[in-house]
Amino acid sequence: MSTLLELSGVSVSFDGFKAINNLSFQIGEPEMRAIIGPNGAGKTTFMDIITGKTRPDEGRVLWGEKGVSLLSMSESQIAQAGIGRKFQKPTVFEAQTVRENLAMALKNKRGPFDVLFYRKSAEGAARIDAIAEEIGLTSDLARPAGELSHGQKQWLEIGMLLAQDPRLLLVDEPAAGMTPSEREHTTDLLKRAAQTRAVVVVEHDMEFVRRLDCKVTVLHEGSVLAEGRLDHVTQNKDVIDVYLGR
């Protein structure tokens, strides 16, 4: 397992408020990691920094074997480099069909002319079918995404992430608003994905994290408070004070 992403000494502040404070973080490939922390711990900002939405005031963000800095890349370049992100609120293109959503995410050249002269291929169609089956939307491929239920939208978004074939998946609260059976399905999806790539899951729900059965990083006030197995972390006194003990 080699290091895929490394953040070191990253800080960012908004109007004087330090959202991320000297944060260091590493993840290898393949690996599953859960990030927990109370509100305002900086979880979303952490993801914003990795995906290029927010530029840190200081620190380094290095990617891949060659240690390329992500700080000078745009959001789309970072995504093309192999980092996929799922937002907290399901954001799929509701006016388009499930198939179109997946086709858009499918790993291909992303330039305007590549897209304009893009010809559909058998592999592409097969891949879409495979992903649709994986996320359980095979029968919904022709439906507009807007008609899907909340949980289905979440899966579609995870499916879009998989279609991108990223090396690192950032998943923000995938289980929010799901029924227990949907959660189970989601857990399976993520676990399967983590067999071949790095997956970072931000989650509030301890039960869900427990089911993921992976290493946990606890964020507090913009820096890492504790790291380790969930059981180990929940024993940590600091963690109990700031988070679980509330």
Partner: protein
């Protein structure tokens, strides 16, 4: 999505039509309309339609073309550009320069040749210069007229000038992530700057006099305006048909998927790895060029172009046409442009009968704009799908109710409720 890998090269076209039946219907309607007008015109038919009306119809086709372009950039890509009529006007100016130069050259050479001593080249050029720029008190040819003597180069200018302008402006605007109403205002500012520039006498394009006499095509004097009107009508119809097919092709398939994605959620598309700015730039520039081509066909039929045609209000009207016709469907834009512009000339041209209320006489030349403005508000409020929405009723096809709305919502710089994670504060 009916494409499969087994599609051979000729096959996609069939399936493109099959997938977009509206293209076929549109082309059919356009063909029938073109033939009908040809048969009823003065030059080639019964003479039921006057030459000036044929010209009006030809101009309307050009307006439909620019409206389609506007629909692609706004209805599909979510960029409310208030600059596309400026590109339209630039196209008109570019072709107008050749038309005016070449025609003046013919006239001047003829008159100079009538003199006992044949003219020198310098004398011809000076004389053309005096003819064209005398009205703004100059006789020198400005630098921008360098290519005016060549039809080919000037046709190239029709595409190159607005294309480059759109490319540079779009690159600047998209690069700094100007979106939503901000972008609209910025494009409006660009349009205003352009028209103010052209209003100056030393702009080199005859100030507020504009270019005139464009209905006379050099080399085709023999043809007569009646025949010429049909020629341009056909050319406009052809351009509209080709533009329609091209845009239908662009907005179908994956490209359409991506640009509609940009309209609905720009950030999400970006996180899928698409360089959003380049897509926007592509759409903006492509539509600008098509708008310019439409303009280059429009103004020879109109006969005159002046800076007032480029003023921001023209571009806003374009948006009005598209909105009334129905955004997000190409035929909607074409119908909207044709419907509103023809109705507009009917009302303002005194075609509509006055309404006598007893105490007040409603004269439509005075009240048409009020009617248009208010009906536009009504369409925005009550029928966001515009006239095109009627076709849904006809075909009993109900698009899913959109949960999101048209266009990006970020321009207001006000976060939508709850969309900002609470840890921001």
């Amino acid at each position: 999505m009916t494409f499969t890998a087994t599609n051979a090269r000729p096959a996609p076209r069939r399936s493109f039509i099959a997938q977009n039946p509206s293209v076929l219907w549109f082309l059919l309607a356009l063909a029938v309309f073109t033939l009908g007008v040809t048969l009823l015109s003065e030059a080639t038919g019964t003479g039921f339609l006057s030459t000036s009306f044929v010209k009006t119809l030809g101009k309307t086709l050009c307006l439909c073309l620019v409206a389609i372009a506007m629909d692609v950039v706004w209805g599909y890509c979510g960029i409310l550009s208030l600059g596309h009529m400026a590109f339209f006007g630039i196209g008109g100016y570019a072709i107008g320069m050749w038309l005016m130069y070449a025609r003046t050259e013919i006239i001047v050479t003829r008159s100079l040749m009538a003199a006992p001593i044949p003219p020198t080249e310098q004398e011809i050029v000076d004389s053309i210069g005096t003819q064209i720029f005398g009205v703004v008190g100059s006789s020198e040819f400005p630098l921008i007229w360098s290519f005016a003597d060549s039809l080919f180069l000037q046709l190239l200018m029709v595409i190159a000038v607005p294309g480059l302008l759109a490319l540079v402006f779009g690159w600047l605007a998209f690069r700094s992530r100007v979106t939503g109403v901000y972008l609209s205002i910025l494009t409006q500012a660009m349009t205003l700057a352009l028209s103010l520039y052209l209003f100056q006498n030393d702009s080199g394009l005859r100030g507020n006099n504009g270019l005139s006499g464009l209905q006379n095509i050099p080399g085709l004097e023999e043809m007569g305006q009646a025949t010429l009107s049909i020629v341009f009508f056909w050319a406009s119809a052809l351009a509209l048909g080709m533009g329609y097919v091209m845009f239908a092709w662009v907005v179908s398939g994956k490209m359409g998927s991506v640009i509609r994605g940009i309209r609905d959620n720009e950030a999400r598309v970006r996180f899928l790895g698409y360089p959003v700015e380049r897509f926007k730039l592509f759409v903006f520039t492509l539509t600008a060029v098509v708008a310019a081509i439409a303009g280059a066909l429009y103004y020879p039929q109109a006969g005159i172009i002046n800076p007032a045609e480029i003023a921001p209000i023209a571009s806003i009207y374009l948006a009005v046409w598209v909105a009334i016709g129905g955004r997000g469907r190409l035929y909607g834009a074409a119908i909207g442009a044709a419907f509103v512009s023809l109705l507009s000339s009917w009302f303002t041209g005194g075609g509509a009968p006055d309404i006598n209320l007893g105490f007040y006489r409603i004269q439509w030349t005075d009240w048409w704009l009020i009617l248009l403005g208010l009906s536009f508000v009504a369409v925005t409020l009550f029928a966001p799908k515009g006239i095109g929405g009627l076709f849904d009723l006809l075909s009993h096809r109900h698009a899913p109710d959109r949960v999101g709305d048209y266009g990006p919502d970020k321009g207001a710089l006000r976060a939508e409720e709850g969309s900002e994670p609470e840890e921001a504060k």
